[in-house]
Symmetry: D2
Subunit: 339 residues, 4 copies
């Protein structure tokens, strides 16, 4: 941590900062520059709330040097984490790229089974589908709940696909964990810390979506909550961020894939459905995500998008999916991976 003093700071004011730094258990190192005095603070400042020092007289700003996360970082664990998912134990985070597809919401048995079979036939390794849906409006379809979970379990039995489904509150975590292979924590819950901690105590892998305005640091700190609570099987999911762009639901920030590979050992998947919001943009972004180095994809696929109870506009059909998969395979191979 570096404390930058304002120009004109007196000796006493610098000393006051030094005293504060020492109080916080850090070692100080003062540098007198041409225009500014700077107090470098040595030691692990992860526990210190840097903002407190900013309020000392004549402090201009405080610049953190260390990343605030540890367990999620490649500094602490260099080997890439492979998260095994589903009945087949697909290794997410290996040289294999895994595609997970399925409807936004489980609507009924017929819809889900038809989709699941198409998803399986196309070569995907997982089935997504929400039983509990966090909906912007209280008047929208909220999911089938436990009934939906049972349908998902049945779909796994029929297809062998790994089941990925969302948990939106502590209160259903056990129930979801009982049926799901992967617990999805949605973008709106990325900073729902009690849920993160509870997921850290579950014995299922967690797919953690990036909040729609989360920085990389906040995203990795959310993962850190899960790991810190005991569960290292965290899959990160980039799903688009909120920007001024209005032709998309979210702006898919694919550089996040490369940045995360640099900063963390956890696997990274991409959700081009929420990441664009429109079916016609999804195939191009699936291709781009694989080319960027994503370990997997999470794609919304519906047998009848026009009648989907949620997210119809961003769901591709099984036909589009089955045509896309061979292209994705060739791209994966072009960068030395398999799919």
């Amino acid at each position: 941590m570096i404390v930058v003093m304002k120009p004109g700071a007196t000796k006493q004011q610098v000393q006051h900062v030094i005293d504060l730094v020492r109080e916080y258990g850090l070692k100080d190192h003062v540098i007198y520059g041409t225009d500014r005095t700077v107090v470098a603070c040595i030691g692990d400042k992860r526990m210190v709330d840097k903002s407190a020092i900013e309020n000392a007289p004549m402090v201009e700003r405080v610049v953190p040097i260390l990343a605030p996360y540890k367990l999620a970082s490649t500094e602490v664990k260099k080997a890439r984490t492979q998260v095994k998912i589903g009945p087949q134990g697909f290794p997410m985070g290996s040289s294999k790229v895994g595609v997970i597809a399925g409807p936004c919401a489980v609507e009924d048995r017929d819809q889900l089974f038809r989709t699941a079979e198409a998803v399986k036939a196309a070569g995907c390794i997982g089935l997504r589908g929400g039983a509990y849906k966090p909906r912007t409006s209280p008047y929208s379809f909220q999911g089938l709940g436990v009934e939906g979970l049972k349908i998902l379990t049945e779909a796994r039995q029929r297809t062998g696909l790994a089941i990925v489904t969302e948990v939106i509150g502590l209160e259903q975590l056990d129930e979801v964990a009982e049926h799901a292979d992967v617990l999805q924590i949605g973008a709106r819950n990325m900073q729902h810390y009690p849920l993160l901690e509870a997921a850290g105590k579950a014995d299922k892998p967690v797919l953690l979506k990036r909040g729609m305005s989360a920085t990389m640091e906040e995203f990795l700190l959310a993962a850190e909550y899960v790991i810190n609570a005991g569960n290292i099987n965290v899959i990160l999911c980039e799903r688009g961020i909120r920007t001024f762009e209005d032709y998309v639901r979210n702006t898919l920030a694919l550089a996040a894939v490369a940045e995360l590979r640099d900063k963390t050992h956890l696997p990274v998947v991409v959700d081009p459905s929420h990441g664009t919001g429109h079916a016609h943009l999804v195939p191009a972004m699936c291709r781009a995500a694989v080319a960027a180095g994503a370990d997997g994809l999470l794609v919304e696929c519906h047998v009848d998008p026009e009648h989907a109870l949620s997210d119809g506009a961003q769901s591709i059909t099984p036909k589009v999916l089955s045509e896309l998969m061979p292209v994705l395979r060739r791209i994966a191979e072009a960068i030395g991976r398999e799919l």
Copy 2:
């Protein structure tokens, strides 16, 4: 809802959309323009997921016409809602402007009581302070929990101030509701729907903070969740949004105050502490918020910001607060209100 067809859509394709519209229980009204055919859909579309139709062939886009919220809207309830808070029943949403101040977190009895007394002396009507803190890092101070709630209750007894404190999960809602006068739902939980519904069943007013990247519509739909569950005593809080700006923690969007007064009958308060992130910007934004027409303020105030366990950088001192209050009073009077 207006469905815009792409140029070149055939009669059959338009008819297909008309059929879908009718299936959804809406009345259609087709307009043939110079370049586009447009299908206007008449009826209350709040239950319809518009996005489904977007996936029909040759549909360019779907434009919603009605706002998706009702109960929170001035269309349904024209009279402004006054939310009475605290032992004195201060009417938030009346001609009076109410200032709520206090530390980010309750740290100990001494800190809280000293702050509470200063806050009271300055003319504020409420005391804020977190007992459960949602922290970005798992290694940061997480609040005193129930112990903090008890200290807050004691502070109310000493000062008569209304206690505003955050609830971060369903699991402590009852406990918080027992001690608090106002249940604060934080920005990160604005779309935590199970919590919103639970707060809708509590018999305490709710102060709902705008999510850091929430649109007005999402914000009002979050309020709609609370009202729909039975609690109309919702106070909305603008607390800054996430943008590219880096000299502030968040960009305080004060036009939201005027827009919300137009769209909703609920009272609106402003949090210039999170809305800027830096103590030196807080007084100017307090003044601006009152001038813009805010019904109240939520301000972080700490007796010793340099040693605050959280948010020290954005906390003003009691001295700054006491100098600010008379200025705010004059501004309130300048626009025909009291403080």
Copy 3:
């Protein structure tokens, strides 16, 4: 400037950075922390492109310490700059708040004169109006050009108001400078450096609008271009930034007013018309801007907004303006200023 090495950087790699730093004419100061080695660089780095060093092996990032602007900074000039404008020499940047109002574009003599008289009667000190309009679409009204400038000059003769009008290219700068009292440089041209330099050589004050996605640093560097070319009479104008918000044309970032007062000696005005895009939000944001400490306002006002050739939606009528002015005066007085 602080160069942060990645963990595991070797002595040679650190030495390589030290060599680079010295090559750039800076003094190095190495700090060995618990997890990182940091090379602090002492000297005025304004000429050095910091990004070059970032590409050296095992460099994690480069943190600038000094602001890159000088002449615009309160570090170099502490006394506030007063910019005298118009025939009356109104001192922008003094204790007086000056309101400049008028139509987006000069449309004809009648429209402008009627507006000018209303603006004058309301107590404003300047008249705005575009003769050259930068329009998003090539098919929109592009302004009357030199004819518009002549009408503006006539309006000044009739009313004594200071004329503020935009210059959109080097090629008309002389002509605009001949007729205008203040040269407005629009948001889209904030980083049009040849224009900034030319304006720096003109002998008229410059009103520089913040680019719609400009940081404070970029904004002040744009002012630096003008000052560096010889013209210190720069008025900064916050006019809203582009964010995800869709109920406004731009998000008016009023904290910028307080931040700029801290960082620069130049006067700061606010444009709540572009800053919101909708007439019904303009009065509240005018009030907030004055309360925040703005030295002036730039407001769009049109005698017949429904028929305005541009920006009708964000133009208030003379009636609204005349009712607003006394309120603004009371707010100015509440914070110890005049209007």
Copy 4:
């Protein structure tokens, strides 16, 4: 265009809007819905400033239906435009993907020629390099000017590469056009309309970069300015947008590639250097851009990035480029294209 009335609008108020619509030369079509009356306006509204009508009494909002651009649209021209560039006439916008690489700025003959040869050897078809540099700071290296243009011309003679270089003002347009194969208009100048019009009269292709906060519509309207002035040879360049993300210089919005292919017939290239700002992220984003369907890339490449006079941090070395090209070729082939 659809005018949405507020609930409670009277017959007279609706009639007033109808009258306005007719005054603007449009045909009206009124729809009485359950909660709102809507006036659909038929006719080509491109010339009408919709915002004027928004100011009529009881109008809630105005929704445009037609895109405001024409010449750039696939509605008007379905066949994809191929822009032939350089001595070899490389067809940008064909099935071939073309890579253009080179330094941010021309620094001297040696630097440029060494880079040009490496770029050529790697299989690129164009050489980028700035002679006139728009720099955020007036104290930064501003380019070699006409001397730089001459060095670029020489580089073309040596290598046969197409020369892409920026023009930052009307005043050097002729000079740049004389030396360059492609006139680059930078992100900061995307809405510098006089420059766009002048480029529309030049007989060289134009590479138009998206402004850092430009919407798709504004981007295509900027292209429309160039085409409308007479030059259809416009190459669009996505180069990242400004968002809250701080680990990148800009957020590269690759969905723009797919969206633009849908909306316009113009070729689309991607600049992953500005689109990320950091060399370590560039290769992944080059791969993603090609996979997304970009017609070409614009990449910063420098023989000695640590000593680059500008943008060193985002420049890859010739070695990285030469390793990347075969991968890009395989990805292009995976999607049925060549490189």
